[in-house]
């Protein structure tokens, strides 16, 4: 009988406790020797590496089952413990059981009436609410533990104390007495089967006394293989080391008992045996020191093999390594489409797709076979209909091999343009972290991706790496192509809006192209449109005299479908109290009518990534993902073409303020300072009015901070007034491409207050932040106010305070990511197999109901209008516009 004949499908799993008889029955050898191998390297009989435990050396036959290494499943042995020890995993339950039962007669400490009542209840629970069984059992135990006198034999019940991990004391009048494991075991033996049932256990598979071990199973040697180091020295597994300890103490205990040694010595050895068994199960048990290797490294015992990130579950069962995958650094490519991914030729030659030969593809496939594994559109393997694999690295004459294949053969061909693959960047926090892309085989060694897919992956190019997986079946590729293709993920379910879209230069470019002053000659316009991949006619020029000129808005209009109407306020809008809409003198109100950009500039609000209710959002919602994808692929290239032709750069001189502006900024700060010294004076004189819920000192701090914050804001305002309209940083801030007014103010005017824990900087020396200040100085300079701008450079003291604030930011992000990662794990584990059914109910795997209607309204947020089922306002606007002509 071979191992593979035994493979059957699992119908159910029953968890129970092994009885001593079962342990002996499944054991093939009683292990009594603490040694493993003799001098010749032969396993010692009845030792921990006994041949009957299964072979681990190739070519050897197992002494128990007769199989060789691959087939032998390994066989358990056992150790007969000289004295019983408590199984540390059940120690708590044993405590409950001891408390709930009589030490004398072993009955549950409940009256017969109560027992009857609970028996009926337990039966009902078993039928109707099996999940609640343990709750009831808990109640029974709690109830029984309260009784101090046995209702059956009338014996007084002593108070029990449990000391982690495995010690129990009984409090007698004469003092506390330690309960020996054999005493515990005999008490547990006295509990009747019917009482065991009331405690929520099935006595057939889990008798309480089995929680106290008399026999210890020894796992097969395959579970704890010894490794031979290069030097020829054998090194044993941690489990083997621990078992050696157990056997050694067990034998010594046995000898001492047989020799009639004093009780004290026996008890010491017994406790030592308990320690070794406890650490054998879990070497991180609280309350006892972990068992260590000779080198001082704690041993990795049973629990440690399973627990945590490197444990069996997370590392080997939830997380598996896969074939047909690749990983490399990513770099940007604004030319490829958003649906594409650039794959290095080297990788394309290693990743393969199995293709079945048919009458249509046989000639192409033959050419692939001829190319072989080293020339790109080639093939690595042929699988014959009988299942034999032919490695194309070896045949000298591949032409002959190619001619020999016929219909029905399968060829593992190289990845080629258009193949569908899955692309992923960790951490995979949402579904857009894994998307399907179409392969574009390219030279060099990095994966290339379109910049518009950076936001969903949260990718940048400072060394980020990404993974690629090749689905191996027609079904999986079709499914990935339909459901996971990038274009199908543009609208995010996180909020009703596009998660992909313009970032940085796309937005600056769109703005520069579509603002009023952009006019282009026929040559310029043609050049730009060619780069965008536009192949239609040029529209009639906006200006005819003195020569033909086109506006940027005209070019940007060419990519909207005809009949497309939309209007919105752009990012550059000044948010005037009453919006003049179409007549906005800043060209900040965008109007698109019948696919033509009539008014307004295109910026972040229209094409930005993560902008709901934008032009891009409307376009995809009304015209579908194909149109949306095409718009991103083409119009976005136009924006880049324009920014390329104009150039967008930033220089030091742009961050220079005129002298009078500098004077104004200085004046604003000086005024704030004088107000602060006034505040400090009032405080010192004791006239400062206390704010509600704050101490006097806190009030002063708040007021000073307010004053300084206002000063910084004012400085920024002044700077904004004096900056030229052509300032690039200003352009980027206003269009939403990158940066903010605050960043700009920091550069040109004043960096402002630095803070740690939301307060001005107070730490450092006694009563002062740095020795440069007098103790008790409450002024701005002494507590982290940075007067300078980045352009003016910070003085050493300012720099130091700035670094303090900056460090807090770094620490915060590091802490936040680890915390949110843990939370994410917990959430995903709880939610991973919950799903929305066709009737819109949300259910668990067993069909139980979690929500009666998905999200209470049944709306798919990805298909919603910014979370709402429909955007009534926009519909009315559209209907009115259509009616009014």
């Amino acid at each position: 009988m071979s191992f593979y004949e035994l493979v059957k499908s699992i119908k159910s799993i029953r968890f129970g406790i092994l009885s001593p008889e079962e342990i002996r029955k499944m054991s093939v050898v009683n292990i009594v020797t603490a040694d493993t191998y003799d001098e010749d390297g032969i396993p010692i009989e009845a030792g921990l590496m006994d041949r009957r435990l299964g072979t681990i050396e190739p070519g050897q036959k197992c002494q128990t089952c007769g199989n060789r290494v691959r087939q032998c499943p390994g066989h358990f042995g056992h150790i007969e413990l000289a004295r019983p020890v408590v199984h540390p995993g059940f120690a708590k339950l044993v405590y409950s059981l001891l408390k709930a039962t009589c030490w004398n007669c072993g009955r549950l400490l409940l009256t017969n009436e109560d027992v009857d009542k609970y028996t009926i209840l337990m039966d009902r629970y078993r039928r109707k609410w099996p999940q609640l069984r343990l709750r009831l059992a808990d109640r029974v135990i709690r109830r029984a533990s309260k009784n101090t006198e046995c209702p059956h034999c009338g014996e007084h019940q002593y108070k029990l104390k449990f000391e982690k991990p495995t010690t129990y004391y009984e409090e007698h009048k004469e003092g506390t007495v330690k309960l020996a494991p054999n005493e515990i075991r005999s008490r547990l033996e006295r509990i009747t089967d019917s009482d065991v049932k009331l405690i929520g256990l099935d006595p057939q598979i889990a008798r309480p006394e089995w929680m106290v071990l008399t026999v210890l199973p020894v796992p097969p040697s395959a579970v704890r293989p010894s490794i031979t180091l290069e030097s020829g020295i054998r090194s044993e597994d941690d489990l083997t080391h621990k078992l050696v300890d157990i056997i050694r103490i067990n034998e010594r205990l046995k000898d001492n008992i047989d020799a009639g040694a004093p009780q004290l010595i026996i008890e010491d050895l017994w406790e030592l045996l308990q320690y070794h068994v406890t650490t054998y199960f879990d070497n991180e048990t609280s309350g006892i020191p972990p068992a260590r290797h000779r080198s001082g490294r704690p041993l990795r015992t049973l629990a440690q093999r399973l627990k945590g990130k490197e444990g069996r579950f997370r590392s080997n069962l939830s997380g598996k390594r896969v074939d047909f995958s690749a990983r490399t650094v990513i770099s940007p490519d604004p030319i490829i489409r958003i649906n594409e991914v650039g794959v290095p030729i080297e990788i394309a030659k290693l990743l393969t797709i199995p293709e079945r030969i048919n009458s249509y593809n046989i000639e192409q496939v033959r050419r692939l076979i001829e190319n072989g594994p080293d020339i790109h559109p080639g093939a690595n393997y042929i699988i014959r209909p009988d299942g034999r694999r032919i490695d194309l690295r070896f045949p000298k004459d591949r032409k002959a091999v190619a001619d020999a294949v016929s219909i029905g053969y399968i060829v593992e061909r190289h990845l080629k343009d258009g193949d569908i693959v899955l692309f992923n960047r960790q951490p995979s926090l949402h579904r857009m972290s894994i998307m399907a892309h179409k392969v574009r085989v390219l030279p060099y060694k990095t994966f290339r991706l379109n910049l518009c897919v950076c936001p969903p992956y949260n990718a940048d190019f400072d060394g980020d790496e990404m993974n690629l997986h090749v689905p191996q079946s027609e079904e999986s590729r079709a499914e990935a192509g339909v459901l996971m293709l990038v274009q199908e993920q543009i609208l995010s379910p996180r909020y009703g809006g596009p998660i992909m879209g313009g970032i940085q230069d796309y937005i600056s470019g769109a703005y520069m192209l579509t603002r009023k002053e952009t006019i282009l000659t026929r040559e310029d316009a043609s050049q730009l449109l060619a780069r965008a991949g536009y192949s239609g006619e040029l529209p009639p020029p906006e200006i005819n005299e003195p020569k033909e000129l086109w506006t940027g808005k005209q070019l940007a209009s060419l990519f909207f479908p005809s009949g497309f109407n939309y209007s919105l306020k752009s990012n550059v809008c000044l948010k005037c109290p009453s919006c003049k809409k179409e007549d906005c003198e800043n060209d900040a109100y965008v109007v698109i009518r019948d696919g033509k950009l009539i008014k307004g500039v295109i910026d972040k609000k229209s094409i930005g990534a993560g902008q709901p209710e934008s032009v891009l959002h409307r376009l995809i919602k009304d015209y579908g993902t194909d149109v949306g994808r095409d718009y991103i692929d083409k119009a976005f290239k136009l924006f880049l073409a324009y920014i390329d032709s104009r150039g967008l750069t930033i220089g030091l001189d742009e961050e220079e303020l005129p002298a009078e502006a500098k004077r104004e900024v200085l004046e604003a700060i000086r005024q704030a300072e004088s107000k602060i010294s006034e505040l400090i004076d009032t405080y010192k004189q004791g006239f400062l009015e206390r704010l509600a819920g704050r101490t006097l000192e806190e009030t002063l701090e708040t007021k000073i901070m307010q004053e300084l914050e206002e000063a910084r804001e004012l400085a920024g305002e002044i700077a904004g007034r004096y900056l030229k309209e052509t300032n690039t940083a200003l352009l980027m801030a206003r269009t939403g491409a990158r940066g903010s007014f605050m960043n700009l103010a920091h550069m040109v005017a004043c960096v402002g207050q630095q803070s740690v824990r939301g307060e001005r900087i107070i730490r450092g020396y006694m009563n002062r932040t740095l020795p440069h200040f007098k103790p008790g100085d409450l002024g701005a300079e002494a507590h982290g106010f940075v007067y300078s701008s980045y352009k003016d450079r910070l003085n050493p003291i300012e720099f130091f305070f700035h670094a303090m604030g900056g460090r807090e930011g770094l620490v915060d992000t590091a802490v936040r990511t680890s915390q949110s990662g843990y939370m994410q794990r917990r959430l995903i584990n709880a939610l991973q197999d919950v799903r929305v059914e066709y009737d819109l109910t949300v259910r668990g795997t067993d069909g139980s109901i979690i929500q009666f209607k998905y999200g209470e309204d049944g709306v798919d947020p990805a298909k919603s209008d910014h979370g709402k089922a429909v955007n009534v306002e926009k519909i009315i606007e559209r209907v009115v516009k259509a009616g009014g002509g």
């Binding site: 609410w129 139980s848 979690i850 209607k853 209470e856 309204d857 709306v859 979370g867």
Partner: protein
């Protein structure tokens, strides 16, 4: 603070013990056993207030910011 009726509180939705026929209909429309509905303990303050017993099904009508009105059900279990 004196005693108050928790069912009167603004934030407590409406609870109602359903009739046998209603439960049957609900069960059929969802294609589930009563046990597959979300559970509510008999010791829940609301169960006590409306006198729900194990085996009952309670209808909950809530005001919902997204759906206006939303209906949910709870199967009462002992505990």
């Amino acid at each position: 603070m004196g005693k108050f009726d928790l069912l009167d509180h603004e934030l407590v939705p409406q609870f109602r013990i359903m009739a046998k026929e209603e439960i049957e209909q609900l069960r059929k429309s969802l294609g589930v056993r009563k046990e597959d509905l979300p559970w509510m303990l008999k010791s829940d303050p609301v169960s006590k207030a409306i006198g729900a017993k194990p085996g009952d099904v309670v209808e909950i009508v809530r005001k919902s910011p997204v759906a206006g009105r939303s209906v949910a059900y709870r199967y009462v279990v002992p505990g």
